[in-house]
Amino acid sequence: MAGQTRMLFRHVDEPGLASIETYRRLGGYGALTRALKEIEPEELLSTLEDSGLRGRGGAGFSMGKKASFLPRGDMDKFLCCNADESEPGAFKDRELMWKNPHQLIEGVIISAIAAGAGWAFIFIRGEYAEVADVLERAVDEAYAAGYVGENILDTGHRVELVVHRGAGAYICGEETALLDALEGKRGNPRLKPPFPAIQGLYGGPTLINNVETLSNVPHVVQNGAEWFKSFGTEQSPGTKVVSVSGCVQRPGNYEVELGIPSREIIFGLAGGPPEGHEVKAWFPGGSSAPVLTADELDLPYSFEAMADAGSMLGSGSIIVADENVSIPHLALRTARFYHHESCGKCTPCREGTNWTVKMLERVISGEATPMDLDVISSVQDNIIGHCLCVLGDSMAMPVGSMVAKFRDEFEAAIQAGRDAAPRPLDESPTDVKPVPLEASA
């Protein structure tokens, strides 16, 4: 299908790609050999930095720069691969790991060597049990082949790799909560600074990267930074696996060059909404991203263009809502999710998500007044930037954007609710009779 540029997804449906033989036959582990035998670790780091590879987990921070923040020296350092993909709408890492686990393992080992980490962990969400099984088999194969463990390919490098299964908590995708979960605790986020690069897992310097970011690493190392920059835009080099879901005809993962028009992804690749329907709103980067409208479909799909439009590329997950979808209900669904997943550590998030859900329920049931919409907006403003992590912000941004962009619809919902269940003041509550004064004495 036109529009796709498959780099990470090359040979994705090749039978047996998850096995080490097939992966090697297609050139796999060539980058690791090159990284170990032809390149110095410092040069590896500069290649990653020069490539401009940006984190694919949500924040879009330069991967090489992040790795370079780790202090030099021979203290214990760690690498964590964040495979706790839980953002509503995101399912790219699942397919990347399931179909091509060795690509990730190769990227993890190269990155660990570049960062000087002797231990690497892949933190995979507990729901992905099938994927974790595939990944564990692949790790065993890599150990047996000498690509991981003591003395990798007889070069003296040592990297131990452990697959760690989570147990169902969205918050563990937040990097410091992930570290706590990996240390065997409740997954609560930590105060930053110190950042994980300085003090992370077990108090040691830790590099944390997303599955897709690390899966890019073998390609960058094999072909060089300049080659990688020939894909995508200047500020967003490379390809991106975009998960498209919701009201589209062909939901799924599509790998595209960053910077192609969003319309091409939603309509060209995913088929757009079914015949006779149209796009009303869409999340460009998972449910945490402020929603965009049909007028914004021609924006290029890149980190910078989405940021300029007041939203974000996030994890690269597009959720499409068509004209039949009620935006207040969409807002409530979104808020309910973050309310459920809030770990409760910070007050603005714990209380803010709770009250947002309650107020949106009032909007829908017709018990709200238009003034409540201003209260909802102000609650969102009071969450953003006031917590240890961005979970609360992740609700505040989309809900705030929905109220701002579709205010008419919220007002109409309030009015409709009132029309359906009129409750004049003088009749309510009906069953309470005034108590005579003498009776109460």
Binding site: D13, S86, R94, G126, A169, W227, G252, Y254, E341
Partner: protein, 257 residues
């Protein structure tokens, strides 16, 4: 974590507490945890009875009968990490696989193997949605009701599952519920990362979708009769979206040579 009871106590045993003298608690056995059925007085007594110095210390491994299989699994997990405490999630998974849910006794056994307090493992277990700290039905069905699945009819699928399993749909939506025959545990769940097959469900840790209400009813019948549920809806083996492998970009091709 490896605290002895003396070090770990928040207060000194001898100092007592003013609140404790107010009521004689001897001979009263508290419930394990507060329940909605408890009266305010019972709750007050329960809280007053919870003294840090009474918390169970690290159980002695010699005094706890741990099934060999469980012990081996937990010890294997402990050996995998640079620090033993990291094994608490794998240990709880092992307990849940062994007993069907995280039983208090199972957690105590795991605590003995790991050298931590049972309360510590329980505090971890209660944080995570996939650990059950009360008994649940044999087959576990998690039905996604987050955005992408909701947009494609997850509500109807969840209702059909609830009806077929014979459990209260509202309970399912919020905290999960098990059928009376103990065969099915059903829960409305948040996004499980399979929006490409929306509306979807995870049945005994395997993904299925897209599901219709009919599929939901069929799946429940099949589970009850011991058959594989809706095999043609399994995610395993599904091809990547976007059709067959397109002609590779010349740059990608060049990179491979």
């Amino acid at each position: 974590m490896n605290r002895s009871p003396d070090q770990g106590a928040l207060g000194d045993r001898s100092s007592g507490g003013a609140g404790r003298e107010a009521e004689d608690l001897s001979g009263w056995t508290p419930e394990i945890r507060p329940t909605d059925e408890m009266s305010a007085a019972e709750r007050r007594r329960l809280v007053a009875s919870m003294r840090p110095e009474d918390a169970e210390p690290v159980p002695e491994l010699t005094e706890v009968a741990v099934p060999d299989e469980l012990r081996e699994r937990i010890e294997a997990a402990m050996a995998k990490y640079p620090e033993i405490r990291s094994a608490s999630l794998p240990a709880l998974w092992a307990v849940q696989r062994h007993y069907g849910w995280c039983t208090p006794e199972g957690m105590r056994q795991a605590a003995a193997v790991m050298g931590v307090t049972p309360a510590y493992l329980e505090s971890v277990a209660t944080f995570y949605d996939l650990f059950h700290t009360s008994p649940v039905g044999r087959h576990r069905i998690l039905v996604c009701h987050n955005l992408s699945c909701w947009l494609r009819g997850a509500e109807d699928v969840l209702d059909a599952f609830s009806e077929a399993a014979g459990v209260n749909a509202d309970e399912v939506d919020h905290i999960g519920a098990s059928s009376d025959d103990g065969e099915v545990y059903l829960r409305g769940f948040e996004c499980m990362g399979a929006c490409d097959i929306a509306p979807m469900a995870s049945i005994d840790e395997r993904y299925y979708g897209p599901l219709t209400p009919d599929d939901a009813r069929t799946a429940i019948d099949q589970l009850r009769s011991g058959a594989d549920p809706v095999p043609d809806r399994a995610l395993a083996g599904r091809q990547t979206a976007g059709g067959p492998e397109p002609e590779p970009d010349p740059r990608v091709k060049e990179g491979e040579s």
